[in-house]
Subunit: 332 residues, 2 copies
DNA sequence: ATGAAAGCGCTAACAC
DNA sequence: GTGTTAGCGCTTTCAT
């Protein structure tokens, strides 16, 4: 517990018979210093294990080099990938990332944001819940830019990275239609979230464009179990369905389980495509899940870069990333 | 971009015709203030949307209320769960968590740590790579406590949370032996990491205690593919094996795939148990993986609590968490 | 019960 | 080129 005081600019200056300002300039390569002084300072700094004090620095600079990342379920690999992408790019530009797990409702999310704001972060990257749209707008208004991922907060700013859900579903459906499928079902999730809604819409639209009617069954919660029940019902009532699109990979696993239970063999008599490309989609013992993959790492990377660019005064535009249809073992 | 200056103590004080010190005391419930003043201050503070400046505070307090969390593969749900546990508990005690992804070797890890140290964190929770043990010791020595998770850095401190790998494997093996299995194989991972080594040792010991000999095949990398190859070889050479223990769930999935390829039906003619309880172990279409589950969230929670307690001057002890044998569908 | 003074570690502006 | 002065927002100590 020997709390050694860490070395400060002053400590270095004293050793060198200079002032802390000189040392600061030398280390930051700012101002006009003699090369020799600079060299000596740098040498001494590393000898003394100097670590700049970010708090002091951000106090005077009004810039913290901190990002806040607010998202639910850090524990799910999906968000973990996004977080990894955020950190990767932030760190390249000398930013650090503060996490705020918003799992557990918007009260939790709000407190996470408040904690993050106390730190004087230069920007916030968030997967915002709709209840807090106005709060995020206030934050953005007050000068802390808010980057939205996955879905956009209307009328706020240009800082957003979303995936084209509509297009993702469409591609999957087109694939099936082109291969002769005519009876295509959907297991979706009941949710007011734009993301999920767009998947359902993309589904209807793609079918409608080909004069086909959708069989839809909405499973309320985002879980394998709920999806399995929904799929069992849907397939029992509509045994003519030959392809089943699922609003998430969780649902896809549930659907496959339900199908097998009903004696339908995947992919021979029923094909299944999920959404997201969760880690478990490809880590299956028997049947790797075909899915519409979201570019998770890239979402995070872009979100960070958008923020960095914006802070640097560069003009940025909302990013819409294309998902990618990944055909594995639940499709023929 | 209207960067509104955020309100400071002084701003509040001015409105109230008081000084910033009074306001500070009122808000922190420190010192002796009249109830009325306090009430007025608090009311004004919330009216003006006052958010304390953590940088300024930490500068004078020499305490940042920040933890750093250094771990590889934030993207893997395994570490995501741990991170979620860390954040959950940290946040309860008003700490925020800075992430440092150490994925990509010890140079990356070192830089992550340096960035974290600049922030003047009150403590670091790390899954340390062995190459950096000495560096971590220095940090700990210099007054920033280092909490180790998953494996311990020898001769450093009492701050560690590890899982009893040895016991976890043992339990699985005992289970099999008690059910009559006599030919039990192991697919492990080649690694100098203590964690992995202990699993192998636990395996040998458990078998030796019953006078049995292990069939071991070490797959170098931690991946499903490598494990599948190793399993195929092991099962071809030793078809008498009836149970196969795997050093990770990745390996378990690979093993099941290999077994089926060889015409062995799991769990009827071959049982498989993995390690970790990764999310995908229970998100299988056909065969949920039996596994030795690590209490991931709890690892994170305990790590945070250990750090909080230590910082509060309380005496703490290393924690060794028991894993839990979870029997699912790859065992009978 | 409240104000005044001082300083945390750093940098920006201006002297010299 | 380098030192001086000043201040970021906050808390602590000491007067009053």
């Amino acid at each position: 517990m020997a709390v050694k005081k860490s070395t400060t600019l002053k400590d270095i200056a004293k050793k060198l018979g200079a002032t802390s300002q000189t040392v600061s300039m030398a280390l930051n390569r700012t101002g006009r210093l003699s090369d020799e002084t600079r060299r000596k300072v740098i040498a001494m700094a590393r000898e003394m294990n100097y670590i700049p004090n970010a708090a002091a620095r951000s106090l005077v600079n009004k810039k913290s080099f901190l990002f806040g990342a607010v998202m639910p379920y850090v524990s799910r690999s999906f968000f973990g990938h996004i977080l990894a992408g955020i950190e990767e790019q932030a760190q390249l530009k000398d930013f650090s990332v503060l996490i705020g797990n918003s799992e557990g409702g918007c009260a939790v999310e709000r407190r996470a944001i408040e904690r993050i704001r106390m730190r004087g972060v230069d920007g916030i990257i968030a997967l915002p819940s709709e209840d807090l749209f106005n709060y995020y707008r206030e934050i953005n208004e007050s000068g802390t830019p808010v980057v939205q991922i996955m879905h956009r907060i209307p009328n706020m700013n240009e800082l957003s990275v979303i995936v084209d859900n509509f297009q993702g579903v469409r591609e999957a459906i087109e694939y099936w239609i082109s291969r002769g499928h005519r009876k295509i079902g959907l297991i979706s999730h009941g949710s007011s979230v734009e993301t999920v809604r767009l998947r359902t819409e993309g589904f209807r639209k793609a079918l409608a464009d080909h004069g086909l009617e959708p069989n839809i069954h909405v499973a309320v919660p985002l879980s394998m179990e709920a999806a399995a029940i929904a799929a069992e019902e849907l397939l029992s009532t509509n045994p003519e369905i030959t392809a089943l699109f699922c609003g998430s990979d969780y649902a896809a696993v549930g659907a496959v389980r339900a199908a097998e239970k009903l004696g339908r063999h995947v992919p021979d008599t029923l094909e299944v495509i999920g959404f997201d490309d969760m880690d478990f989609a490809s880590m299956q013992c028997h049947m790797q899940i075909s899915t519409v993959a979201q570019p998770k790492e890239e979402i995070g990377r872009l979100a960070s870069r958008l923020l960095v660019d914006h802070l640097a005064g560069r003009k940025v535009h909302p990013a819409i990333l294309p998902p990618r249809l990944v055909l594995r073992e639940t499709t023929k």
